[in-house]
């Protein structure tokens, strides 16, 4: 075959040109974002019903979930990749400020599309959109713990998708107990033992206390519930009734505050989020015990892996009743009047999917409200998590935050009790305030 004398020359030149163009285009190619690290499961299948219009999904998350780890940002990126027309805009706020901000946003008619919080409480105040239809379409209710599902239901209507679940356990410093020649607290630990050990572990010079306290209502509620108390009864059908000043509550609060007043622990500051103070004091070796959550365990182990950490269930009441503790859960819900309800629900499905559930537990210490949580060896086999998993079944739901006015009165009563008021008087005043509130609410309802 005859070759043109210039053929090899042109081939060489063309190859050079192609190489340059290829390298340029390769440089221009966009980098793909890897899916969230440590992601074991699959994300939900793509939903063809999602609109193709370009939208921005405004998501408000608890700052505690995003401040230290980019998991939710990664999840949002995955979601955006799956739905290229959706731009997820995550805003993070301190949990305690979220209801106020949401109320303000609803008042001006510009709510976000999705919020993280206590769905039940938000629904009770009329801040959340019912999601029964989307739940029915999804059909995944059985995949979630029943306790967690209860936390998103108000008046029989589902208002959110459970994200995580938690309860209170007793966290203690093993070294302190060994130092004081005391046995570690265990499942049979009692209030009296707690008080005695707290007294023993407390140093006279004030350099160390036996127990840490908080005035946070949910934490105190766990103590009251354990003693057989409760803060409200009833349901939407028969109506709700507050029981802030019942005897069990009074005695339980008296016992609790007496320990503080007796000097077994520093007085709580009563500042917002003062439940963080015991953990800080615990890490600083200033207290030997406190009532904490699973994420406190994760936090301590992250900061100090060799910390002599011990965890057990809450102490039994004087009557010997089983530990009740308090159930806590956050969920994702759609605010009333949000513009992208269906896409927001799709985002909830992603956020609560197994793909991000295990990373959320490992990286944040926030345990998914999934039914498999209590049986998966990774969790069930962890001795530090066993008390938490055990107490989930007995934990009592806290619903007082559905009535912020009443909860505020309850909180003030707790603060007052810690700072010298008689618990009975303090709780009675709170009860009166609650009754007054209910009468006003009923009056408004009748009008």
């Amino acid at each position: 075959m005859t070759r043109h004398p210039y053929s090899s020359f042109f081939r060489g030149q063309a190859a050079t040109l192609l190489l340059i163009i290829f390298l340029f285009l390769a440089g221009c190619a966009q980098k793909r974002i890897a899916p969230a690290k440590d992601a074991p499961g699959d994300a939900p299948p793509l939903n063809p019903a999602i609109t193709s219009d370009s939208i921005t999904l405004d998501v408000w998350l608890d700052l505690d979930f995003v401040a230290t780890d980019p998991l939710f940002q990664e999840m949002a990126s995955d979601f955006e990749r799956a739905y290229p027309n959706v731009d997820v805009n995550i805003q993070a706020y301190v949990r305690e400020t979220m209801p106020g901000k949401l109320r303000a946003a609803l008042q001006v008619g510009d709510p976000p599309d999705l919020v993280q919080g206590h769905a039940l409480a938000m629904a009770a105040q009329g801040y959340a959109e019912p999601l029964n239809d989307l739940w029915a379409e999804w059909g995944a209710e059985a995949e979630f713990m029943s306790q967690a599902m209860d936390e998103v239901v108000w008046d029989g209507v589902k208002y959110g998708v459970p994200l995580d679940i938690y309860t209170l356990v007793l966290i203690y410093n093993k070294a302190h107990f060994e130092e004081a020649d005391l046995p570690y607290p265990d499942a049979g630990y009692t209030w009296r033992q707690l008080a005695d050990d707290a007294a023993t572990l407390t140093r006279a010079d004030g350099s160390r206390y036996g127990l840490g306290f908080t005035v946070e209502p949910w934490y105190v509620f766990a103590w009251l519930a354990e003693a057989g108390g409760d803060v409200m009864t009833g349901d939407s059908f028969i109506g709700y009734r507050f029981t802030l000043d019942n005897t069990n509550n009074v005695e339980a609060l008296r016992f609790l505050t007496s320990m503080a007043r007796d000097g077994y622990g520093p007085l709580p500051t009563s500042r917002p989020r003062d439940y963080e103070d015991p953990r800080k004091l615990f890490l600083d070796d200033k207290i030997s015990m406190f009532f904490g959550t699973p994420w406190d365990i994760h936090y301590i182990q992250s900061l100090s892996p060799d910390f002599p950490l011990g965890v057990t269930e809450l102490p039994e009441t004087p009557a010997g009743a089983g530990a009740a503790s308090a159930l806590g859960s956050t969920a994702l819900f759609v605010p009333r009047g949000a513009r992208h309800r269906q896409i927001a629900f799709e985002f909830m499905k992603w956020a609560t999917s197994d793909r991000y559930a295990l990373p959320m537990a490992r990286r944040l210490g926030r345990y998914p409200a999934r039914a498999w949580l209590q049986t998966t060896p990774h969790f069930a086999g962890n001795p530090l998590l066993k008390p938490f998993l055990f107490q989930l079944d007995a934990a009592r739901p806290y619903r007082l935050d559905a009535f912020p006015e009443v909860e505020r009165a309850f909180a003030d009563a707790i603060k007052g009790a810690f700072y010298g008021a008689d618990p009975a008087d303090a709780l009675r005043m709170a009860q009166e305030h609650a009754d007054q509130y209910m009468q006003q609410a009923a009056g408004v309802g009748q009008q």
Partner: protein
Amino acid sequence: MSDASPSFWTSLSDRWASLRVQALLFTILPLAIMLALAVGSIFYAYQQVAEKLALSRNEELARVSADRLSENMANFVRVLTTLSNLDVVRGGDPTLQKNALTQARDLFIDFDGGVIILNTDGIVTVTEPFRPDLQGQDFSTRPYFQNTRALRSFTFSDIIQEPGSDEDIIVVTVPVISREGEFQGVLAGRFYVRFQRIGEEIQKLQVGDVGEAYLIDRNGSVIYHPDYSLISADFSQRGSVFNLMRGEYDGALIIQDLGKARQVVGYAIVDVTGWGLVIQEPWADVVAPARISLRPIILALILGVVLVAVIVSWGAQRVVRPIAELAARARLVATGNYEVQVTPSPIRELRDLGSDFNRMVEQIARYQAGLRQYVAAITQTQEEERKRIARDLHDDTVQSLIAIGQRTELAREAISEDPEDAKDQLRELRKMVTLSIDSVRQTSRDLRPTVLEDLGMVPALQYLANDLAQKDTVDVSLNVEGGTEDLSPAMEVAVYRIVQEALINIRKHARASHAQVDAQFLADQIVVTVQDDGIGFAVPEDTAELVNMGGLGLMGVKERVQLFGGRMSVDSMPGQGTTVRVMLPRNLPPSQFGLDEPETG
């Protein structure tokens, strides 16, 4: 080192010296350097301008954002002022004040640390929400209390620590003034720095879209930063914060911390609070649009350079290939192959060069053919000359010598018998010897121009003219100008032979009745013109053709003229006679041509 190395270097050197490489080197390289310099200069200039613009823009952005933030922060003051103007608050009764604040709770929801009232002595008398830990605390030494009391005006604190919890807080205060104008205390709204409520005001400004914006207090501590972990950090050593702390109202600078990207930083004081707002963005983001727009330009430049390289390389190839072919053909010609031809190039100059080469090869071929005929003719002439000489020697000289020998024998025999007869015989012998001498001398004269040696240049030329006139009855006239005294013998022979050949040509071919010989011995050259009125002939374009036309003499003349570095022209037309003109340099050193020795028989 292997043996291949030298050949490798030789090969590399050959490639380096090739026209194609040189063309690329001296066109593409300067072009690429020029383009690179141009792009570099443009980019540098852009960077300079962009720096100024970015500094100006960020300064302006910081100032405008600080103004807007200041307005937003003033809202907090307005809320507190509204509360402080309530009569029950002005009244100074803590219980009534508490009730008033509880009723107005929604008004100050933004104060995530709640609201407190300090009495005239700086003691906390009211907290909302209920804060038993703060109740009764003495804050009289706090700067915000003292400022507010002294100035009767609002105050924004720097970051301070809350007693008990050690939480970082910001306090906004307004004075509580009674209707009578008396100082009743201070109403203070509190923010937890970690709650980032103030940060939300910065987020509202949306300055974060261009980078990051953070707020620092008068001590350089971070009130808000998009990176949560930096909140409450000490930034007082940062250039922008340092400038703010020393009183600069606004400004901008470019910073590059160790191991971090370059940043453009704008900063300004937030009027109402006295804090500083800093907005910074990576320099890369500032120049990103230019980089994006530069990318196609650079690509175009690269493609342009490559395209030029391809075109130049292709053009060089178009030039090099015919030249290489020409060189190859020339090597073939050097080996004696005169049948080669080069392909016409599309480039005019190369095409002309190729055509000239082809013509040159053809001419050499013809010349070589003529030379071969010339040599053959010369050889034949020499052979005939030898035969003639042999014949002359045999017919004349040898016969004469035989006769002389016989006569000598007769004379020897007669000496004893008849001395008189012997004497006759010897006389006869003498005559015979004389005739033989004449014969040999004639033969010798035919071989070499003894006349030239005997008589000199001019008489020799006259002899030649006379000889032609005598033998062929051609009227020959000779005209000589100039002197011939200093002519070298070789030159004399050359002139003689040239005239001789020209006259022989006339005798053989011209059929002329008259011939004219002009010899001009000028100072620097010799011009010989031989003209006849004979039949003439068509002069070939190439004098080599003369051989083919039987003009061997003229070819000999030409060879001899060229040997002396002269020129010859033949001017003739059929029926119009012939003029042969020869010009020889007079003083050309004959040694150059190996002609030191005069021509001899």
